[in-house]
Symmetry: C2
Subunit: 204 residues, 2 copies
C-alpha cells in the first residue's frame, strides 16, 4: 500500500509544481514559464521537477489536463443545479465553458495554445474528450426532447464547440475589448453569442 498523502522529501511536490506553474503563467504569461523558476518557488533544485514531469511540455500538458477536468466538473456542478430540460443544460454547457475560459485565461490558453497536438499524451486526450462528450450528449438529449432540430449530432456539437471556443479565445486575447465591443457587459455578450448559435439549432 502506497501512502499517497505522506510527503517524501518535499511533500507532494508534483501538485505543488502544478499550482505554482499555473500561478506563474497567470502572472507572466505562458511562454514566460520556466521549469527553473517553478522549482525555485517550490524550494527545490531546478532538476527536481524532472522526477515528476518528463520535460517542460509534459508539465504544461498536465496543467492542460487539470484544466479539462476542472471544466467538466464545473459544468456538471451547474447541471445538478439545473433541474430543467435538456435545452437548459445545453445552454449551461456553453455558458460554463466560456465562464471557465474567462476565469482561467492562463490555463485555458495552455489547454489549446500549445500547438503541438495532444497526440500520445492519452491522459490529456481523455480529459478533453470528456469535455466534448458532455456537449455531445446534451445535443442528443435535446434532439430527443425536440428542442434541437434533427441532424448529425457530431456536426452540431462541432459547431457549438467552435463558437464557444472561438468566443473564449477572442475574449481572453483582448481582441474583443480592443475592437470597442465592451458596450455590453460580459454576461450579455455571452448570451448573445450563444443565442445566435442556438437560433440555428432550433427546430422548424
Amino acid at each position: 500500500m502506497k501512502k499517497i498523502s505522506t510527503p517524501y522529501h518535499h511533500g507532494n511536490l508534483r501538485q505543488a509544481l502544478l499550482e505554482i506553474a499555473v500561478k506563474l503563467i497567470r502572472e507572466r504569461g505562458a511562454d514566460a514559464l520556466t521549469i527553473r523558476e517553478v522549482a525555485r518557488r517550490a524550494g527545490v533544485t531546478h532538476t527536481a521537477p524532472y522526477r515528476h514531469f518528463k520535460d517542460k511540455a509534459s508539465l504544461l500538458a498536465a496543467v492542460a489536463r487539470e484544466g479539462f477536468e476542472m471544466m467538466v466538473k464545473e459544468t456538471k456542478d451547474q447541471f445538478s443545479r439545473t433541474t430543467q430540460d435538456a435545452l437548459a443544460r445545453l445552454k449551461v454547457c456553453g455558458i460554463a465553458y466560456i465562464e471557465f475560459a474567462i476565469h482561467n485565461p492562463a490555463r485555458y490558453r495552455v489547454m489549446f495554445g500549445t500547438g503541438r497536438p495532444h497526440g500520445k499524451n492519452s491522459a490529456l486526450r481523455k480529459a478533453s474528450e470528456a469535455s466534448f462528450g458532455l456537449l455531445l450528449e446534451c445535443i442528443k438529449e435535446c434532439q430527443k426532447e425536440g428542442t434541437v432540430r434533427p441532424g448529425e449530432p457530431m456536426e452540431m456539437a462541432l459547431a457549438a464547440w467552435s463558437i464557444v471556443h472561438g468566443f473564449s479565445m477572442l475574449f481572453i486575447d483582448n481582441q474583443i475589448r480592443e475592437k470597442g465591443l465592451f458596450a455590453a457587459d460580459r454576461e450579455s455578450m455571452m448570451d448573445v453569442v450563444v443565442d445566435h448559435l442556438y437560433a440555428g439549432f432550433k427546430p422548424n
Copy 2:
C-alpha cells in the same frame, strides 16, 4: 530618396527573415522558433536580426501582421470573383477565413497564439481590425439586403468571427480529427459549421 529594392549587405534581409521564420514555424512549431536559427538560415550573424526587429516577440508580431494582411487580401480576391449578393460575400468571408487558417496553420497560430495582446503594436492591430471590418461590412450589407435579420451588427460579427475562429483553431490543432470527425471531408465540414451559424442569422 531611399532605394528600397537595392540590397545593402545581404539584400532585403528583413523580408528574408520573415519568410524563414514562417518556414521554421511550419517545420518545427511556433515555440521552436529561434532567432539564432533564423539568422543561421539567412546566412547572417545571430544578432543581425536585431537591426530589423526589436526582439523575438517583435519578429513574431510581424509574422502575424503579414498573416492578417494576406487574409484580407485573399478574402477580397474571392469577393471580386463573387458577383452575387451580399449574403454570398458573407459566406465567402467565413470560408476564406477558415481556408486561410487551414492552409497556413503555423502562421495562423502565431496570429492568435501569442497570448500577449497586440496592445501597443499598432500595425498588427490595424491589420487585424481590417480583417474584422470586412466581416462587419458584409453583415451590414446583408441586413440592408434583407438576407440577415436585423440586430446589432457588431454582435453578429462577433458571433460569426467566433465560430470561424473556433472552428479553425480546433481544426488546425487536430482536435477534430482526433475526435473521429473525419467522416466528412474538410470542405463539407466547413460548410456545415458555417451554415449552422447563418441559420441563426436568417430573417423571419
